[in-house]
Amino acid sequence: MTKPEDELAWKDLEIGSIITEPGNASQYQTGGWRTQRPVIDTSKCIKCGLCAIFCPEGCRRQTAEGHFDANLFYCKGCGICACECWTQAITMVGEEE
């Protein structure tokens, strides 16, 4: 695609607005929906990876240190990771705070 999606004019669209390049959903910043973000206390984290397994966006990746960080470009702030964390190492913090 030559232009970013939010600059496309109606004449630029494919027939029926079909998408011809697989995988472009990754360009969509679902993180923009978030009102709360997960903050991890690494001193409590046991690196079990449950937060990453339960994350519906699949946006948690293990860092070199071994704990799991959320990619805030995609994280919708649903709080499932905080809910599932065995050691309560994750807290949800309001975006305005």
């Binding site: 999606e5 109606w10 630029d12 027939i15 029926g16 079909i18 969509y28």
Partner: protein
């Protein structure tokens, strides 16, 4: 050109049109409110006379959904429904047009519940007015048959790629036996080459249809759809011209009958136009300058043709077969008023609603409608529109 003229029920003739169009997939809900159209197609497929997949499904919602899938892989796709069935398809109709899938559907126009009434009027199709489908109204069996063939050609045209509804009045047409010219397969093949859907679903060339469109792009998508549907009119005109040149029967978005120098025009859609012709003949015999306008193309709305057809009249009487409850009357009348509003020279538009739920309007009653319309144009009416023939 050779053609066979046979007496046949209009529903069954539509099935033959689908067969002559070499449809690949027909998906339909097989029982009430279905017509003989898909019953006959099921038989043609079962007998090996039509090489197509017939997919009976559990609802009209599923029927239209199956049609989406079939059309998306490039299959020539047909279905038929009526009344409540069309309403159950409603949300999927929008998907078909927005995804630019050239599905053809015959709609036997019927009233909607409640109370339960399976007879004819235009309530069902008028509720689908804004679904983005091309909508053609036929006045008799031959027009329906011919327009089913044209519908495939229009729908599949690379400049269009939109679904098409061919509307025919429930019972007044669907269950009527009429003499219909059935062309030979070779002639139809020349008029209707195989479908070449440009971007079908194909594992070797993956695409995504009907994807998510956030606020920053949805408006652009809808503008493209609007431009596309409006531009389809030129292709429809071209198709009707080529159909006429090949088969000898010509169609147009707006047809006039004895409208020359008419001060008063009556406008109707569908099979009622043939009954209204009798009334016009009789009024002309009485020396009244009255003519008839038949609106054949409902979407895209033929603005230029309507303005041209009625510009010299003083009064235009519109008979709708559907009510917009609590609104300005019937949907056809409203749109015609709207199309004429900015014109300097325009007739006074008088709206009637009638022929609801299968109630006949006889030639004599059409005369009453015209005379009452003329009266309202002179004296006015306390109502936005009048319901013709209702017992007070």
């Amino acid at each position: 050109m050779t053609a066979q003229r046979i007496g046949i029920e209009v529903s069954r003739a539509i099935a033959i049109a689908a067969k002559l169009a070499n449809v690949d997939v027909v998906s339909a809900y097989p029982i009430t409110p279905q017509t003989h159209i898909v019953e006959e197609i099921a038989e043609l497929v079962a007998n090996g006379e039509l090489d197509a997949a017939f997919i009976p499904v559990e609802s009209e919602h599923s029927a239209m959904s199956a049609c989406l899938g079939a059309a998306a892989v490039g299959a020539r796709t047909f279905t038929a429904t009526a009344g409540q069935g069309l309403e159950l398809m409603h949300e999927v109709l929008y998907v078909a047009s927005a995804m630019r899938l050239p599905i053809v559907m015959a709609v036997a126009n019927r009233a909607l519940s409640a109370p339960l009434n399976i007879w004819g009027d235009h309530s069902d199709v008028m509720a689908t007015r804004d679904t983005g489908w091309i909508q053609i109204f036929a006045a008799n069996g031959q027009e329906t048959f011919d327009n089913v063939l044209c519908a495939f050609r229009i729908a599949e045209d690379r400049r269009v790629l939109l679904p098409v509804m061919v509307n025919l009045d429930g019972f007044h047409l669907t269950h009527m036996i009429e003499p219909i010219y059935i062309p030979e397969q070779g002639e139809v093949d020349k008029f209707l080459p195989p479908s070449q859907y440009p971007l079908p679903l194909d594992p070797d060339r993956p695409i995504t249809m009907g994807a998510f469109a956030p606020p920053y792009i949805y408006t652009e998508v809808k503008k493209a759809q609007q431009v596309n549907l409006a531009a389809a009119k030129e292709v429809i005109l071209q198709c009707w011209k080529e159909f006429g040149d090949r088969f000898g029967r010509y169609y147009s978005p707006v047809e006039s009958y004895r409208s020359e120098k008419a001060k008063v025009l009556l406008l109707v859609m569908g099979s009622f136009s043939e009954t209204a012709m009798g009334a016009i003949d009789s009024l002309r015999d009485e020396g009244k300058e009255v003519g008839l306008i038949k609106l054949c193309l409902w979407r895209p709305f033929p603005f230029a043709e309507i303005r041209q057809a009625v510009r010299d009249a003083e009064v235009l009487i519109v008979l709708d077969r559907a009510i917009s409850f609590g609104g300005p009357g019937g949907p056809v009348c409203s749109e015609i008023r709207s199309a004429l509003y900015s014109e300097d020279k325009k007739p006074r538009v008088i709206g009637f609603v009638g022929g609801l739920g299968g109630r006949d309007v006889s030639p004599d009653e059409f005369k009453q409608i015209v005379n009452r319309g003329i009266e309202i144009s002179q004296t006015g009416s306390e109502q936005e529109f009048e319901i013709f023939g209702v017992r007070e």
